[in-house]
Assembly symmetry: C2
Homo-oligomer: 231 residues x 2
């Protein structure tokens, strides 16, 4: 099966913007699952500080390195983009060479302050579609992880929020679904990249619910399907 | 409270395109909850057949009438639009006069066959935004009920799918949330009408999951919030 072959080749994951809480949280989970994790940042010094933090939490079980974003992207089998939306397009332009032929997981949510509870997509249609427009057809842009509260990732807590995975081709979504599972989360194949507007936009709805209830934990769960956490 | 005053005034609900399974399902639930339900159709004869069906299921506890779409809209306190997306815009144009000053619940999902698993929104941004564009600011267009499997509505079954309610002003969303609850469902205030792209588009993702698993029951559930069905 093509899917398994591709899954097997993912050994090194670059997390760009990896010094933010999203990036650190995902890096923590994947390093713990045995992947080599490259934390990328504009500043190698900031990347080193994030790696030191993660080393403190992970103990001896880890394979981590601090690099610039570009160097991390070049050395990785798969690249995860967790930068704020304000620098998303510029980052994609800067990364274009380094990610050709790879899968890029786009975690960006196009929130436009101050109305972050209102869905506001960029001209391309979504952040992931903007990435695809910049990076071209040789990169499999897959949208995922936009709806997770990242605080939970670093706490080894069970996360009550599913991950909808869309974009790229079916094989690349399977690769990402394996990474979702290895991060301790439940993921679903949510189809083509045009569907990323739903997944990214859901974040604004969840932020709105968090505000209504004075919480930070609103998430979604797919129902009526055979779930790995229900027997 | 303005919200309660408005809730109290909703007594008669028109369901346009009410002869389809979505409309009949919602009409069944609301008639059962004690509302007067007007089933509208282009053909009064079709509307009468649907009302006869519902009378058979509801027994004596019902207040139902069969009307043309226009007459139903004129007589109702609140109008529900459950027509197929192909006639959505035309219906909104025809209804414009009859719905001024009312709440219109838009159930339409802009599916574009054959790729119904791919989110494809109309130029206005979503079906609900298209309705608002046609109907103007004096109509509170609220998007809801797009993600429900309507088979379950007619069966008195507990439905494992939440209802995200967005659009209109906050008071009109509260009115609709009361109707969601009276239909035996759990609803959430999902914010402004721009968020309807997420709720309508989610239907394509759920159809995709149904196809993947050979089921018809995929739905969503909001997690991490205080739920009325969890104590």
């Amino acid at each position: 099966m093509t899917e398994n072959t591709e899954v097997a080749t993912i050994r090194t994951i670059a997390i760009l913007g990896g010094t933010g809480k999203e990036g650190k949280g995902l890096g923590y989970r994947w390093a713990k699952a045995g992947y080599r994790v490259l934390i990328g940042s504009r500043s190698e010094e900031k990347a080193r500080a994030a790696v030191e933090d993660l080393r403190g939490m992970l103990g001896s079980v880890q394979d981590l390195a601090a690099l610039t974003n570009d160097e991390a992207a070049r050395q990785a089998d798969l690249v995860v983009l967790t930068v704020p939306f304000g620098v998303h397009k510029t980052m994609c332009e800067q990364l274009k060479d380094a990610v050709q032929g790879k899968i890029l997981i786009d975690v960006a949510v196009p929130l436009v302050p101050p109305k972050v509870t209102k869905v506001q997509m960029p001209p391309a249609g979504s952040a992931a579609m903007e990435a695809k427009e910049v990076l071209g057809d040789a990169v499999q842009v897959v949208a995922a992880f936009q709806n997770i509260s990242y605080e939970h990732l670093l706490k080894d807590e069970k996360i009550e929020c599913d991950v909808l995975v869309c974009g790229g081709n079916k094989a690349s979504r399977q690769v990402v679904l394996k990474l979702v599972s290895d991060a301790g989360l439940i993921g679903w194949d949510a189809g083509v990249i045009e569907n990323s507007v739903v997944v990214e936009g859901m974040t604004s709805i969840l932020i709105g619910l968090n505000k209504q209830f004075g919480i930070e934990s609103a998430g979604i769960r797919i129902t009526g399907v055979p779930r790995p956490d229900e027997n």
